[in-house]
């Protein structure tokens, strides 16, 4: 498994120097992944599809990492250990999209790709892959809906599971369920104020 991912990493890194990083998986599943810079994402996806035969995007998950250090524990960067231990710059939390791609012809199983946003607030966009794999269409809408990841270039980026007037992104780790907004016979005081946020826009 990991040998195959490393091979793909080398192919990709030759095409897109500096944009691809290999992340190792510390768990028993051994599913290593490739971290792709946002700027190179669409190009790399096109290369994977056209030159390496990955014709299907199977799964797309959004992940919220408020704590960037935790992300490095789960997906360990393989790049040469930097010598200055304490020198690491403070990285803000970020949102991540994990792609599982596969080839229906080669039958080698899935390969994991990931791409990360700058932070969790104003810089949370990732290029859309709908132009490369159509199956991203609904799944990106879902990640937008539940995580607030802005997919630039998506043809129809709307909420898909929550209702259109909803304002928050419930899968984020710091999301607080506002109140019992589905049933509140006589809301008052702060509950009323909170509940108003979920009234349909008129």
């Amino acid at each position: 498994m990991s040998g195959r991912v490393a091979e793909i990493h080398d192919r990709l890194a030759a095409e897109f120097p500096g944009a691809i990083a290999l992340l190792s998986n510390p768990g028993p599943s051994g599913q290593d992944s490739l971290l792709i810079e946002r700027a190179a994402l669409v190009g790399a996806a096109g290369f994977l599809r056209d030159s390496l035969g990955f014709d299907m995007l199977t799964n797309l998950s959004g992940v919220d990492w408020p704590d960037a250090a935790l992300a490095d524990k789960v997906c360990v960067p393989v790049a040469a250990e930097t010598d200055g231990e304490g020198e690491k710059p403070e990285v803000p939390g970020f949102l991540e999209v994990v792609y599982h791609i596969e080839s229906t012809k080669d039958r080698g199983g899935v390969v994991t790709l990931r791409s990360r946003t700058g932070n969790r607030a104003e810089d949370c966009s990732i290029p859309s892959l709908v132009s490369v794999w159509r199956s991203a269409e609904f799944q990106e809408r879902e990640a937008y809906d539940l995580y607030g990841i802005q997919f630039t270039g998506h043809p129809d980026l709307r909420r898909i599971l929550m209702w259109d007037e909803f304002t928050d992104h419930p899968m984020r780790k710091d999301y607080v369920a506002p109140d019992d907004y589905e049933y509140e016979p006589t809301p008052h005081d702060e509950v009323l104020e909170k509940a108003k946020k979920h009234y349909p826009a008129d």
């Binding site: 768990g27 028993p28 599943s29 599913q31 539940l146 909420r159 599971l161 209702w163």
Partner: protein, 373 residues
């Protein structure tokens, strides 16, 4: 919506659903029609959304097991299997031989249930409301009785555990399965006799809703839908899990990928499932039904992530789990086949009649519990 709606042209906007027998649950389609012809179709769903993934992140790994039953509630046992498989991959747990065989038996029985129910539903969509469904459910109920004997519930099984199964087979259960397996071909013959040459069925289904192979692959369509178009992609062979590499079976493939092929593929798959069941029942060994060292309480997988998938009756059912070493998952994601197979619904329907939309939706075989999660 692309189509312009004005007084001059004759476009008509129809909101099909959400409560309608042919939408298979609470599912809505905003359809724009030019006469009878579909100009644009936008699916609207989420009516059953309860954020299954968020709930699962807040509870222990095992606590999500009964919740997976409610994803695709027609086939709970394959949902259990996919989830157990992913956790086993995440934590590196082994499964004893006997449990693997029982899982295959349950998985194939579930495929029989799903495809049989599908026959009933799609015939209902075509206007044969009731009778086909009744015959299908009669057979389905026989298998559900077996599930009740084994798991205590007809549908909400909550049966698989990380490293095996919840309990061993009750006495006489294997004989019960054998009886079903022996009798099933007669039912399939009967159904096929009713359907295959039926003129109305042929007229309604042939050359309806077909798309090129490349489009389907690009759109992430999996399962019988993809194989009906002739793409040889079945995870039981393409990315074997469990012990499927020990069985001899064939992957039926369609040619045109229209609704008729999708229907026939399911017939053929059921016959292959019966073949697998024969082999699994013959090979079923004695032994543990759960790994003796499998931890039920205080279970914490090591830090890491895993994606595992199975060939569910509706397509590729996958789970993506990220563990940070705590007793509850950091990220829990379901890869729902019904949801992703809907991506190309509009493409399949454009230019056809409104009545075809109903059949095409039926042929995708969705369950809203899984689409909306």
């Amino acid at each position: 919506m692309n189509a312009e709606l004005s007084d001059d042209d004759q476009l008509l906007r129809v909101s099909l659903g959400p409560q309608h027998p042919s939408t298979h649950g609470v599912f809505r389609m905003n359809v724009v029609l030019d006469g009878e012809t579909v100009v644009s179709l936008k699916p609207v769903f989420g009516y059953l959304h309860r954020n299954h993934e968020k709930i699962a992140e807040g509870v222990t790994y095992l606590s999500s097991m009964p919740y997976t039953d409610r994803l695709d509630y027609i086939c709970p046992l394959t949902n259990n299997w996919a989830y157990a498989l992913t956790v086993e991959k995440l934590a590196g747990i082994e499964v004893p031989e006997r449990a693997e065989y029982v899982r295959v038996i349950l998985g194939e029985l579930t495929r029989l249930i799903n495809h049989t129910a599908f026959m009933g539903f799609i015939l209902g969509d075509m206007g044969a409301w009731g009778s086909a469904l009744m015959y299908a459910f009669r057979e389905r109920e026989k298998i559900l009785d077996l599930f009740e004997d084994l798991t205590g519930a007809r549908m909400m099984a909550n049966f698989m555990r990380f490293g095996g199964l919840r309990n061993d087979l009750p006495p006489g259960w294997v004989e019960g399965v054998r009886k079903i397996v022996d009798e099933y071909p007669a039912f399939l013959d009967e159904m096929e006799k009713f359907l295959v040459g039926n003129e109305i069925l042929l007229a309604r289904t042939q050359d309806v809703g077909a798309l090129p192979k490349e489009t389907l692959i690009n759109g992430g369509v999996t399962g019988p839908m993809l194989r009906a178009a002739g793409v040889n992609h079945d995870l039981r062979k393409a990315d074997p899990y469990g012990i499927y590499d020990r069985f001899k079976f064939r992957i039926p493939l369609g040619e045109r990928g229209d609704v008729y092929d999708r229907l026939m593929i399911r017939f053929l798959e059921m016959r292959e499932s019966l073949d697998i069941l024969h082999q699994a029942l013959d090979g079923l060994p004695e032994g543990d039904f759960i790994h003796p060292k499998a931890k039920i309480r205080g279970f914490k997988p090591p830090v890491g992530e895993a994606y595992a998938r199975i060939e569910g009756p509706k397509g590729e059912l996958g789970f993506h789990l990220i563990s940070d070493g705590k007793p509850n998952p950091y990220r829990y994601r379901v890869r729902p086949p019904s949801f992703i197979n809907l991506t190309l619904l509009e493409d399949m329907c454009l230019g056809l009649d409104l009545a075809d939309v109903v059949i095409i939706l039926g042929s995708i075989d969705i369950v809203l519990g899984e689409v909306d999660r």
